[in-house]
């Protein structure tokens, strides 16, 4: 189990055709950074497409180039692991709008300057459209499985609904088919924190030597809380003080939990672009698969031939089980074969990234046949 996944490809592909977007515009020269693990079978029938979460990237099972940390799903992807690279050809692409090699607001526009806020507002479906263009270029016409957690799960649903001929299996973890108000609210807090930072400079901070790091860090801190559970925060930190015997009667990070969040916020700014954060969270806020299909979610899956597996976690209050149940209800109504399980795990929304053996079993089981 300890063996690392062997990277088959770590490339940046430039699309030759312009990419049409939901907003009506199109993007020229879109670049898609992706990684692949394992070996593509001659029949090209062993492809597992992994779709990453809000601030994730293509480095699923390889060290992050900026932080040096293991890939974000290293525990799940590799030889003999639940997503077994001895059997599957595993692909993951950095989403459109991000900042890890795929085209986003920090990329250069045709005029040679960064897009910044001139970058068009994108949607989850636009992200998937870019991935489908990548698959087309690679000559892949079928996916053994598409799998995503959180925002990745929304992409998996979007792919299943809009490109129903592609996936044979769809696995949606800790996600939703329609972004609820509470989540839009948290996303707005993050965006406001960034745009309120004077260093944001209406988005034109590239090359100025100043970036809205303080705003981006606050956005990350707020979001990070939503990824955890009260129980996990209490267990990890409680009311313990940070390297001190008593409260300082000041506004230093007295509590361990404060120090932890500040560290999370600050380290995030080293690896993520503030404008990308604006665009990606906007895409999430806009996500409503039912609305895209005439208001009835079941209609989104009428053309699907895939089997679905929907997973939620009992401590996830950001994407609670109720959202998954609504999705399962719609899948049932559309006649799609669907499995659903709510797993018990202490880590809140982040459970899908952490050590939850029951999740390993469900993923391995769903992929097994």
């Amino acid at each position: 189990m300890a063996t690392a996944a062997v990277i088959a490809a770590s490339e940046v592909l430039e699309l030759t055709e312009p990419l049409p977007l939901d907003c009506g515009q199109q993007l020229e020269g879109v670049r898609i950074a992706y990684e692949a693990y394992g070996t593509l079978s001659p029949a090209k029938d062993n492809v597992v497409l992994i779709q990453h979460a809000t601030t994730g990237d293509q480095h699923v099972a390889s060290p992050h180039p900026k932080t040096g940390k293991p890939g974000w799903w290293d525990r799940m992807v590799g030889p003999g692991k639940p997503i077994d690279t001895d059997r599957f050809y595993v692909l993951c692409a950095n989403v459109l709008g991000s900042c890890m090699g795929s085209t986003g607001p920090g990329s250069l526009a045709p005029d040679g300057r960064p897009y910044a806020m001139r970058f068009p507002v994108i949607t989850i479906r636009d992200m998937v459209r870019a991935q489908v263009a990548l698959l087309d270029t690679l000559g892949i016409e079928r996916l053994y499985c598409v799998v995503g957690g959180s925002m990745g799960g929304m992409q998996s649903l979007s792919l299943a609904a809009n490109w129903p001929h592609l996936p044979e299996r769809v696995m949606v973890i800790a996600a939703t088919a329609t972004m609820p108000a509470q989540n839009i609210a948290f996303q707005e807090v993050g965006r406001q924190a960034i745009t309120a930072d004077p260093n944001w400079q209406a988005g034109d901070y590239y090359g100025t030597g100043k970036a809205p790091d303080a705003g981006l860090a606050v956005a990350r801190m707020a979001a990070h809380i939503t990824y955890l559970s009260e129980a996990s925060l209490t267990e990890k930190f409680g009311r313990r003080l940070q390297d001190r015997q008593s409260k300082t009667f000041g506004f230093d990070a007295d509590f361990q939990v404060e120090s932890y969040l500040r560290h999370q916020g600050a380290s995030f700014t080293n690896r993520f672009d503030a404008n990308s954060y604006l665009y990606i969270t906007r895409a999430m806020s806009y996500f409503d698969l039912a609305e895209e299909h005439g208001g009835l979610l079941a209609d989104a899956f009428r053309a699907s031939e895939a089997r679905f597996c929907v997973i939620s976690f009992d401590t996830d209050w950001l994407y609670p089980t109720e959202l998954s149940r609504k999705l399962v209800h719609a899948l049932n109504a559309s006649g799609a074969p669907v499995s659903f399980v709510e797993l018990s795990a202490p880590f809140g929304h982040d459970s899908f990234l952490l050590d939850v053996p029951a999740l390993d079993r469900v993923i391995a089981g769903f992929l097994s046949r």
């Binding site: 209800h329 049932n332 074969p337 499995s339 709510e342 029951a358 469900v362 089981g365």
Partner: protein, 197 residues
Amino acid sequence: MTELRTDLALIAQNVAQGTRVLDVGCGDGTLLQVLRDERQCQVNGMEIDPGDVAECVGKGLSVIQGDADKDLAFYPDGAFDYAILSQTLQTTMRPDQVMEELLRIGRRAFVSFPNFAHWRVRLSLLWRGRMPVTRLLPVAWYETPNIHHLTVADFRAFVEERGIKVEQAWYLSGDRLRGTSVANFRAEHAIFLLSRS
């Protein structure tokens, strides 16, 4: 054929080839597997235990974690040719409502349950004045999941009152079939095939 519990084997034999089936309380999916692999049915399951759901998913089955009392509302009318509820009715909060739901989503329903009027149960109550602990009801009263005990006679009265048609019935004592007339006394459990006529 996979080794099946006698009541499940009886149900499997009486499900028509190639039909759509929902097994409510499907456990580890043993019956669903047999129906899929040997009778070419389109099978679906509902199970409350997440470990069992995970096992079903590993067998390639489509199983939803859910509660028969609440989650049958998930399914549209007439979604299945058969809805199966085996050894689960007596564990539900509202057996009457579960029965209505089964016959709404399934054109036919198989329902099986332990018979509380079996002579061993009667003897236990009569002679010892104690709630029975038997082979089919092995758990003491305070921890049994069986919260709505019923008898064959109760069930017959119930379906008649509700205008539910009994298409077929089987009465089992151990692995042996018993006749209809002695069923309420001699059957350890009963299996009914029902429809809304």
